[in-house]
């Protein structure tokens, strides 16, 4: 198989050399760090011990591509001052799970489609994504139901698997291949056994997740637009928007200005369809007047409109919305056939 030819492997004891080499080569390295009891994505110093024995990051990595808040331009006395502080640094994003990597590939469809979003594109172009195969999914995970897998490669440049003694490193894109070639002295050809071991890990992880049959969900939801399907989740919903903040594919944003004396800036900030202000017209008219319409919008956008517009479900099954909802709304109960 082609994969066995291109796959590389790295002894675990060499991984610290790898991260050091990455940093020495001028990349900013973002990877796993432990904060309290949660794994988070943090910038990693060259000497850090990196391990991949967390389940998933608390937050998705979307902030690294679509910042929660970012300056679009600055102005002074009615003139535009280009933002000289734009960060063009090359980055390596290490250890995100394949679900989150797939979410990046979905965001690509929105932000790289013409006219491309230069802020997103710059960050995307400058980043090498090394995702880590998921060996221990959480109770809330359902990636296999939405077309993903614990080892899906969409959105990744390199796929890493923790094999116990070594790491398997499979290049996914030419960018990932080039990257691995630069550090070829630290890797060797992977053995057939190593590739087989990865497949076993993936199968076992997948078997731990319940799989829903979501075939035809776009049409099913389109037909259910006026149905009572939305009643239960929307009656409980507080409209806090936490589901959209944790969601790796939610990408809706607001654009606002702020000023101090003569200097101002325009900011792009994450926004949420769960808020009434999101669609409120200046006239007072609101096309989505209650939480029912707003809840429906969130589900329709992810499972129906996105299929119409991009040919993809905009849900990767990471389960964060389920895990963090303060009133225990379980998305799976709404989408299940």
């Amino acid at each position: 198989m082609a994969e066995t030819i291109t796959a590389r492997a790295m002894e675990k004891k060499k991984f610290a050399d790898f991260t050091r080499a990455i940093v020495d080569n001028g990349y900013q390295l973002y990877g796993p760090a432990i904060e309290g009891r949660e794994a988070i994505i943090a910038q990693i110093a060259e000497q850090a011990d990196v391990s991949f024995d967390y389940r998933n990051f608390k937050m998705s990595p979307k902030d690294l591509f679509l910042s929660q808040s970012e300056v679009l331009c600055r102005f002074c006395r009615g003139e535009i001052v280009p933002d000289a502080a734009a960060d063009d640094g090359r980055r390596v994003l290490l250890g995100i799970r394949p679900c989150d990597a797939k979410a990046i590939s979905l965001m690509d469809k929105v932000f790289l489609q013409e006219p491309a979003d230069s802020y997103y594109k710059r960050k995307r172009d400058n980043t090498v994504v090394i995702s880590a195969v998921c060996s221990s999914p959480e109770d809330t995970c359902f990636c296999t139901s939405v077309g993903g897998s614990p080892a899906s490669t969409e959105g990744s440049d390199i796929l890493l698997t923790d094999l116990g003694e070594s790491y398997l490193l499979e290049p996914v894109t030419p960018k990932g291949e080039d990257f691995l070639n630069r550090f070829s002295s630290l890797t060797r050809n992977a053995s057939k056994n190593e590739v087989r071991e990865k497949e076993r890990i993936v199968e076992e992880a997948a078997s731990r997740m319940q799989k829903m049959d979501l075939e035809g969900i776009a049409e099913r939801f389109a037909k259910a637009f006026e149905s009572d399907l939305w009643d239960t989740p929307s009656q409980r919903c507080l409209g806090c928007g936490i589901c959209t903040y944790f969601c790796p594919t939610c990408h809706c944003f607001d654009v606002t200005d702020e000023t101090l004396h003569e200097n101002g800036r325009r900011l792009r900030t994450w926004d949420s369809c769960m808020y009434s202000l999101f669609t409120l017209h200046a006239s007072g008219h609101n096309p989505r007047p209650s939480q029912r319409e707003r809840t429906r919008q969130r589900f329709m956008h992810k499972f129906s409109y996105s299929v119409d517009n991009y040919g993809e479900l905009f849900c990767v099954g990471c389960g964060r919305c389920i895990k963090h909802c303060p009133v225990n709304i379980d998305l799976r109960e709404v989408i299940a056939p």
Binding site: C76, P82, S118, F225, V255, H281, S304
Partner: protein, 296 residues
């Protein structure tokens, strides 16, 4: 620090030429002329600060833009002038939100920002050679007015032109001087109306709601296209009258409005079902609107 200062000075007057691929960067426009249309509506003539930009700028009648008051924010307005006018563009707004209140306070000569043109445009080719019926209510005359001027500027390309415009009161009619100008022409039929109670002693137009007056007018639907813009309630009661007159859903055109931020289909808020008003609209036929959920 000195170097930094120099950089800022050098770029201070720049209109963003070095960042052409930045879709969020507004272009600077000078407010050339302001007209107060009603107690809370103004229209503005705008020209690009950069003369080259003005020369090269083109748009299609019916498109919209994002207008910036620097430090306050952006608002979405239809470009209410016609594509046939090349030396400036116009916008018209009601003082109702934060940005429009700030815009209201601005003076001729002041600078605002503009991004656009965005969205689709009126299907002019399909309208040529036909009788055109323009129907507008209140502040929705501007998105119709751009097409009215387009048709009047290229008068030979269109057959009969009729305009029905209504507002709550005489004071709420916008572009009054243009209504008078159109009334004087013999190649346009103009009917203005105000809601009952909104008339003044010397009001010479009709008194009544737009759908009722439309029924009285009873325009012919053969070889005709109707362009309808107004508040949702006006549209709701006008469409059945048009259907009754024999207009096909495909021959009724409207312009939808939803709250927008980016204008290019990314910020995710103006969608009606799977359609983005900013990208797939704002111009739709009644047949298209009928297929959409009522989220506009």
């Amino acid at each position: 620090m000195a170097e930094q200062m120099k950089l800022e000075e050098a770029t201070l007057s720049d209109t963003g030429k070095d960042d052409l691929d930045n879709i969020y960067l507004p272009h600077l426009m000078v407010i050339q002329e302001i007209a107060q249309e009603t107690p809370d509506v103004k229209s503005m003539k705008l020209v690009f600060k950069d003369e080259e930009m003005q020369k090269n700028f083109s748009f299609r009648t019916g498109q919209f833009g994002e207008f910036t008051v620097f430090g306050v924010g952006e608002s979405t307005f239809n470009i209410c002038s016609s594509q046939t006018w090349r030396d400036h563009i116009e916008c018209c707004f009601r003082k109702v939100g934060r940005v429009t209140k700030a815009l209201w306070e601005m003076n001729e000569g002041d600078i605002i920002g503009f991004r656009g043109p965005y969205g689709n445009w009126y299907p002019v080719e399909r309208m040529e050679g036909k009788n055109i019926l323009f129907i507008a209510g209140g502040i929705a005359l501007p998105p119709v007015r751009c097409m009215i001027w387009h048709a009047l500027d290229l008068r030979d390309k269109f057959k009969d032109i009729a305009i029905l415009y209504g507002a709550r009161s005489v004071a709420d009619l916008v572009f009054k001087r243009e209504l008078e100008e159109w009334e004087k022409r013999d190649d346009v039929t103009v009917v203005t109306t105000v809601d009952p109670g909104g008339e003044t002693p010397d009001w010479k137009g009709k008194i009544g709601f737009v759908p009722t007056v439309l029924k009285e007018m009873s325009p012919r639907s053969d070889n005709a296209i109707a362009l309808v813009c107004g508040p949702p309630v006006m549209i709701k009661f006008t469409l059945p009258v048009l259907y009754g007159l024999g207009f096909a859903k495909e021959d009724i055109i409207t312009s939808l409005e939803n709250r927008m931020k980016c204008g290019v289909g990314k910020c995710g808020r103006c969608n009606v079902g799977n359609v983005y008003v900013c990208k797939d609209g704002p111009i739709f036929t009644a047949a298209q609107v009928e297929l959409l959920p009522e989220e506009y």
